[in-house]
């Protein structure tokens, strides 16, 4: 095939590249923001559990801390959903979905898990939210041609995360 011939020449001589740019200017997308937000959701759930097991239950300090944890959980679950919506809406193309047909269902799953992470304090749901976003990150980096690695987050709740292996 002629393409293969030209590609072989390119590998040998390195043809100049012509940019068919997208976005203004060439958007910076990174699922790490959503990943960290989702991780924060689980962290807030853990803090809520710890507070519930303390001696201050029902007292002023308890109410103050608990309402703050809930507010942060709400906010970060929504932020994570927002970040994924932006990447899905602005970056992901039809061709990407063709290559990764699991993307639409995964996107929908993240939205649902994010909603439930706000409605409840169910840690398993929170962990599933983190995992689904990690899975999204894995696909995102595959599209970008960047290898990934799995490592535990260097802070509580130290869940396993997907990071670009740069």
């Amino acid at each position: 095939m002629f393409y293969n011939f030209v590609q072989a020449l390119d590998k040998k001589f390195g043809f100049e590249e012509a940019q068919a740019h997208c976005d203004v200017p060439c958007g910076i997308y990174d699922p790490i923001v959503a990943q960290i937000n989702a991780l924060t959701v689980v962290r807030m759930m853990d803090l809520m559990t710890a507070l519930d097991e303390g001696a201050e239950v029902g007292k002023k300090a308890y109410n103050n801390s608990m309402s703050r944890y809930i507010a942060v959980k709400e906010e970060h679950a929504e932020k994570a959903k927002h970040e994924i919506r932006v990447i899905y809406g602005d970056f992901i193309s039809d061709a990407h979905i063709e290559a990764h047909p699991e993307l639409p269902a995964l996107f929908h799953k993240i939205m649902k898990l994010g909603g439930k992470a706000r409605q409840t304090a169910d840690r398993d749901n929170g962990v599933a939210f983190v995992e689904a976003i990690n899975q999204f990150a894995e696909i995102f980096w595959a599209i970008k041609g960047v290898a990934t690695k799995k490592a535990k987050a260097p802070y509580a709740p130290a869940l396993e995360m997907v990071y670009p292996a740069l």
């Binding site: 393409y3 012509a18 068919a20 740019h21 997208c22 039809d94 061709a95 063709e98 041609g145």
Partner: protein, 105 residues
Amino acid sequence: MFKILKIRGESLTPEYNQGDYILVITHSHTIARLKPGDVIVFQHPVYGTMVKRVEQIDPQAQEIFVVGTHPQSLDSRQFGPIPRHWVTGKAIWHIANRDGSNRAS
């Protein structure tokens, strides 16, 4: 007179995909006779060597309005028409990667 360029980015998808090659004619006579629909290569002072499709040419102002086909394409809709002297060539042959294995996706 001629050069081969490699496409990077997705603003001309689905027709031109990342990794495709184009044969470009750099002859000034050809550049002087561009018409809407032509795929051209030009040197943008900020974004470097770019490839886009000609939508409109203003012969008085010697300006060319260039667009991509992707909705998120960065083109004249953002940076305005480009002066003709930025144009370095016109694509005359599209060497597509038919099996798609080298596409960005």
